[in-house]
Amino acid sequence: MTCEELKPAYLMYAMGTMDEAETSEMRAHLDRGCPTCTEGLRQAHAMAYSMGALVSGPGAPRSLRGRVMAVAAPERRPMRTAFRWQAWALAAACLALALVPAWLWQQQSSAWRSREAANATLLASARASEESLRAELAKRTAGSAEAVPIYALELERGAGTPGEAPKQLAIPQGAAAIVLALPSDIVRQASGAELRNSSGETVWTVSPLPVSDADSTGLSIPAARLSAGRYTVALLAQGRKMGQFRFEVVRR
């Protein structure tokens, strides 16, 4: 399609309301680096933004500010406080049950259970940022052949960000399972999850999903199901994909 033909559709594209075929055409056109349509779309985004800003009505209740600020609150506490051993021991038993698929739970060794419970608690109770989580896990699992790697995935709705290289997950030899830490705000709205390989075959599913009040929710996947290659983990709601994340497994 030409720029003139696409021009009337800029705002629909900016609002995400074009049909898929037209969206693909627009995307292909933009991928060719068309400066006219790129600029037109930026302006369309500005118009869409204005529609959001146009809404009148009462402002937010005063109490909401405190709730929003709670988002940043956990980082004010030293990590050590968040991971006190006593709190772990109590919370691990409860939260691990909620976070780990029951069938996997029954199959794992007691050592694995203990480690996963600790890791699940780490995810659920600390409300740690992805960076803090990685740092803490690196400390806790260093040198262990049975380490359970936890990968924090920034799950995207739909098909994810186009053109982005899949994240590489390096799974150590001897790892019994991995934990995918997904944003709870999306997980809470999903009814199940599935893992597909690059051939489109489903290699793992879970339903219902664990419920967590924390920022991240962990999904345990047996490492035996993962050979080197590309995978997609998708969250499902009402039979359709809410979001997905592509990653590549690298055995080492």
Binding site: K7, P8, Y10, L11, M12, A14, M15, G16, T17, M18, D19, T23, E39, R42, Q43, H45, A46, M47, A48, Y49, S50, G52, A53, L54, V55, S56, G57, P58, G59, A60, P61, L64, R65, R67, V68, M69, A70, V71, A72, A73, E75, R76, S129, E130, E154, R157, G158, A159, G160, T161, P162, D185, I186, Q189, D215, A237, Q238, G239, M242, G243
Partner: protein, 211 residues
């Protein structure tokens, strides 16, 4: 400051009476705010909320029509912005539009999960990617554009306006709008294209968007 501050429908600079508009203040120091968010300073989140919280809440309430759900979604919006600020271009990005895009997506997810949006609803993940808000047009940061957009919307035939509002505020695809308005899909597409062209023409006539 880059633009006037609208308080209860009046511009502070000129005193000119405006339509009631919940437009947030957008200032040049947004870039400083982004840098502080990227440093994970809690006060930066407070400042972001103070600057844009009301605007986000009004949009949420308009879309989900439930004050409790709107509050939850506002919290989720700021959580997402907090967690994703590192991907934002502090020098060239526009925070307010990005925040609204995140908020709208949260509301659409909510509507979808509750079955108020059908399976035909398109995915919106691309619409909040921080790269879209790099070098955002300067006019987006000026309340004049919002006023012009509102004026252009008001001048549309009622059915065209309804189609646009269903798309933006309800997140309906064109197929869903056709079903909702009991019109053929082709008619809806024609209406929306005409509406876009008329709005762009109206706004271009005021010198804000090149036609």
């Amino acid at each position: 400051m880059e633009c006037a501050i609208i308080i209860q429908g009046t511009t502070r600079e000129s005193g000119e009476r405006m339509f009631p508009l919940a437009l947030s203040v957008i200032a040049r120091d947004d870039r400083d705010l982004v840098v502080r968010l990227q440093r994970r300073e809690p006060q930066a989140l407070a400042d972001l909320y103070d600057r844009h919280g009301d605007m986000v809440y009004r949009l949420m309430l308009r879309m989900v029509r439930d004050s409790g759900a709107a509050e939850d979604l506002v919290q989720e919006t700021f959580l997402r912005a907090w967690n994703r600020a590192s991907a934002f271009d502090a020098e060239r990005g526009a925070v307010g539009p990005w925040l609204l895009a995140i908020a709208r997506n949260r509301a659409l997810d909510y509507l979808r999960a509750r079955g108020r949006r059908g399976a035909n609803t398109v995915e919106f993940n691309e619409m909040e990617h921080p790269s879209l808000f790099v070098d955002f047009p300067a006019e987006a940061l000026n309340f004049d554009l919002a006023r012009q957009v509102k004026r252009a919307l008001d001048q549309l035939p009622p059915q065209q306006r309804q189609a646009i509002e269903l798309a933006y505020y309800e997140g309906m695809s064109q197929s869903e709008i056709a079903e909702h308005m009991d019109q053929p899909l082709g008619t809806i597409k024609t209406w929306m294209r005409r509406a876009m062209l008329q709005m762009r023409g109206d706004i271009a006539a005021e010198g804000r968007v090149t036609g």
